[in-house]
């Protein structure tokens, strides 16, 4: 439920940016070919969703937006700020964040940035992780 609400809040944010607006939410173009099912996004890219439909019960017509894989750009291998560096928030800063500790390394990601990029491709020591919102 929490994840759903989080996703809803991003979607509302993107709607407010007009990236995801009712106007961009057209009915999905579905192609059925030799028993395979493809959904076609706004960049005319075809996504094979046969497995999602047959195994997980996804309904092809229930996919939404289809903005294309370049519409929302991830952040890759970002620099982090440590205490004392310019831009590091004061201890009374009330920004919403997602925080995590992995490999003895603790990092925080502000939601207002995550909501614009959806994904941060990160590395904690030897662990490769994705921070998603």
């Amino acid at each position: 439920m929490h994840k759903l609400l989080t996703a809803l809040s991003i979607i509302l944010f993107l709607q407010s940016c007009e990236l995801l607006s009712p106007e961009t939410n057209q009915p999905v173009d579905i192609v059925r070919e030799n028993g395979n099912i493809f959904i076609v996004d706004r960049t005319n890219k075809e996504w094979d969703v046969t497995h999602a439909v047959n195994v997980y019960g996804f309904k092809p017509e229930s996919f939404q937006y289809g903005l294309g894989p370049r519409a929302i750009q991830p952040i890759n291998n970002p620099q982090m700020l440590s205490s004392g560096q310019s831009g590091y928030p004061g201890s009374n800063n009330t920004n919403q964040i997602i925080g995590t500790t992995l490999k003895n390394d603790t990092r925080a990601y502000p939601l207002n940035v995550l909501s614009q990029h959806e994904m941060v491709n990160e590395k904690f020591g030897t662990a490769y992780v994705g921070v998603a919102y």
């Binding site: 996504w47 997980y56 937006y65 894989p69 620099q79 700020l81 919403q96 995590t100 990092r107 998603a132």
Partner: protein, 83 residues
């Protein structure tokens, strides 16, 4: 927060541009497999593509405000933005 290592390979994840049930459908640039957080299932499940049915492990994370986070995590780093 999810692992992006699978079978010895490292994936670069991103939003696919699709949502399903108001949740983002993710994909990886390497194989263009589609990844989704199924309800009642931890981690990301590959719903379509080369890694179909495989999972990316989920790690603990906390959503809170910095003012609360920094009290309990005084050594926390903070995302630089813009990069």
């Amino acid at each position: 927060v999810y692992s992006r290592e699978i079978e010895g390979n490292i994936l670069n994840l991103s939003a696919s541009g699709w949502t399903y049930n108001n949740t983002f459908v993710l994909f990886d640039f390497e194989t263009e497999s589609m990844w989704y957080h199924l309800s009642n299932t931890d981690g990301l499940t590959c719903i379509s593509g080369e890694y179909a049915d495989k999972k990316l492990e989920e790690f603990n994370s906390t959503q809170t405000r910095w003012i609360n986070w920094i009290v309990n995590n005084p050594n926390s780093k903070y995302l630089k933005y813009p990069q």
